[in-house]
Symmetry: C2
DNA sequence: CTATGTGCAAATCTTTTGCAGGCTA
DNA sequence: TAGCCTGCAAAAGATTTGCACATAG
């Protein structure tokens, strides 16, 4: 019921390192492993700190929870991840940094991409005086039914 | 720098009571005061628990912070307020319960209404199999510039 | 070698909850 | 009177931080 992660392998580790380089983030053992889990297979993912921590543990990598938090923050600061706020209780991080719409499944608390080709914002207001639009978050909340 | 609240007066208190009745919420002293602050003058507001707590204190009403939290929750359950999730650190509550777009001012952490006449979602994806769309949150994040 | 990252535990912050006493219907 | 409400303090969760040790460049 949660996001799958890329397996740890030479190939995904390699992909993770490339990704870290792109963000100019110093590649430590822990960061390489987390990066491999996140983007090693080229899939987009939406993860929570706890979820990534569990995945790392399950892969046999020892990474502390605090480091997972710090690392997710560092990846965001480097522009490698995007933080998505859909639930007051917990932060989600998206490996796709482009602005795009999401589905949030209220029953399972799962966040997924909505097909962006099917969401069209026809008009946006002008940014008020002295401000500019940094991002437009669109979250489609789904309930079973 | 934060949302203004309606003053406490016989008129706003009266309006607050009417609002509570509409939600079939038992009118206690504390709830009446909070309702008056929130909707006594008919304006729409976006508040945090802490902000409302401070406003109550400043108005000379003694309400505990726990009660503010419980009351906001009760108002939401009654359909009188809408919870808006824009910031992982804190919940916002909107006195307007209709689905409408918001501006979120990143510098001041302030949440305001975006002119809904100027936001138009032209197309929405179908809800995936077995789900229905409960709500579509649109948050336009503003940064100074 | 120096700056930066890591791990652990403790600290923070928001929100919820347990319980005893108060108040509404 | 019965049941819901309030206040306080404590609990609960998520996230951050301080500090000593480890490691990348």
């Amino acid at each position: 019921m949660e996001t799958q992660f890329a397996p740890l392998s030479p190939a995904t580790t390699q992909a993770g390192q490339t990704w870290l380089n792109r963000g100019k983030v110093r590649p430590t053992r822990q960061r390489i492993a987390l990066a491999a889990l996140l983007v090693g297979d080229g899939e987009n993912r939406h993860v929570t700190a706890e979820g990534l921590f569990t995945a790392a543990k399950d892969s046999g990598e020892s990474v502390s929870l605090a480091t997972v938090y710090n690392t997710l923050r560092a990846f965001c600061d480097a522009g490698l991840l995007n933080e998505i706020t859909v639930d007051a209780a917990r932060s989600y991080f998206d490996t796709c940094v482009e602005d795009h719409p999401h589905f949030f499944w209220e029953e399972t608390q799962e966040l997924t991409d909505a097909p962006s080709s099917e969401v069209e914002i026809a008009r946006l207001p002008d940014a008020p005086e002295g401000a500019r639009i940094a991002r437009v978050d669109v979250v489609i909340r789904l309930r079973r039914g």
